[in-house]
Symmetry: C2
Subunit: 318 residues, 2 copies
Amino acid sequence: MILVLAGGVGGARLAMGLARVLSPGKAAFVVNTGDDFEHLGLTICPDLDTVLYTLAGVHNPATGWGRRDETWSALDTLAELGGETWFRLGDRDLALHLLRTQALRARAPLSLVTRMLARRLGVRHAILPMSDTPVRTRVLTDRGELAFQDYFVRLRCRPRVRGFRFAGIARAQIPARLAALLASPRLRAVVIAPSNPYVSVAPILRVPAIKRWFACRRVPVIAVSPIVGGAALKGPAAKMMRELGAQASALGVARHYRTTVDGWVIDRADATCAPRIAALGHAVCVTDTVMSDARKSEHLAGEIIRFVHLLSRGRASF
Amino acid sequence: MILVLAGGVGGARLAMGLARVLSPGKAAFVVNTGDDFEHLGLTICPDLDTVLYTLAGVHNPATGWGRRDETWSALDTLAELGGETWFRLGDRDLALHLLRTQALRARAPLSLVTRMLARRLGVRHAILPMSDTPVRTRVLTDRGELAFQDYFVRLRCRPRVRGFRFAGIARAQIPARLAALLASPRLRAVVIAPSNPYVSVAPILRVPAIKRWFACRRVPVIAVSPIVGGAALKGPAAKMMRELGAQASALGVARHYRTTVDGWVIDRADATCAPRIAALGHAVCVTDTVMSDARKSEHLAGEIIRFVHLLSRGRASF
């Protein structure tokens, strides 16, 4: 059993690859909820939805968010009525937000709602929110503290980043099923998807029960570098690294995670970084990490599984 | 200035006719909110929306509810996700419900929200909810007490009606603007639209401030019969009258309203009822009341205005 820590697009694409090569009993996906927010009276969970839609095969591969075959009547009408339209919500997408918001208001935990939605969408692998209680990422910038979606979507990541705050993290409660998986003797590895280290992965690692698991873990943690050839494939990861004084490279990411990660999967484009990452005490796997289609996601998943087996044999060292 | 008490379709069609012949300063529309309800976490106001959409010219004339050029992606997706779809919500319609619900949650009064929506939709005549606080019509039936939309939409008016209850009516607060209009010396008449007497008009008449106005009114009240040729043009009015032991006819409606109404507008199809309605002490105007198109709505509006002038001359009797 592999547990994957995932943000949005990178996490979703890796989840798709792993779901194609591992049965539902062999992989589960823990998804960041720090970028969840309340908008138009709806609770929106962008990363959860990207993973959900991708595993269901109804995602929009062009945008990386939302659904394919989407229509925009509600948002067009909202514009006519003077409502907020900076966050793009398609009509089909809205249905999910309505249903989830209704269930959350009826006090169903987010993990239960996610499970129900996944079942309805025909997804058989477990998708678990990192927390059943709200965590909200706040971005500290040169324009002050911003709600994550304000920074990310409305201001298009333009403000200069100074740090992050995860409101609600100290009280974050992992779903019971996630607690069971973390404690399970069947758990072979945790894989950190190629997602933004600051706003996708850090919130997950800071959830108290997950933090405690990392502190005394007995299985390897493998990470796929979200930086390839000095750039993030999607999103502001590289920009954030530079603004925070880190080096926007596979090596910079490895330094950022330090001892949290045992084995690194980096792209062939960054092969020259491998010796220096190894010198930090990490195992390194060099392969193609750019998941530009399903076949490439599946290939990367296979490489990761091989890497897990390799590291598990030397398990005593973890 | 004429104040029109309106339910859904009949009220909306009469409002459209009056809005075409009277300037915004000369007519205002007071709309039933008893059939408002909470659904999918949204506050939906069917009668207000029918009047709003009709005056804005974006209504669907085929259905009598919802918008023209509507799309159904959200509801189709909701069906796939196992959500409730018995109440038909189009994508464009949803945008309005989202915006209104958001505003109501931010504690804006319904009258203010309605005014904002009307302005955005280019409606210049005042559309006033009968109450700024929630009133919810409950239908007492042979299957027990039902929420109005459960009875009306979900069960398609099949249960046998025994009575009605208007939850929240004792505390119902009319909008300040409606209070001002009722007290205005410019008010020349109140017109009761051809709407369901039990579930569209009765809630309005039972709002305490409106009830008090009727008790000591000094201007005539004119009603357009919602029953033509023994049948309701739309909805369950005739069925309800029969189930409650009343005669489903223009005369039956006149008897139902008794002294609440001073002058009756009935259809030519019911001309034979005129002497018996007159015998109840009412003035009677016989004309074409079936508003099958905008021109006919406008014609009826003209007849009503003439009737108001006629009755106002004999004002001393009210």
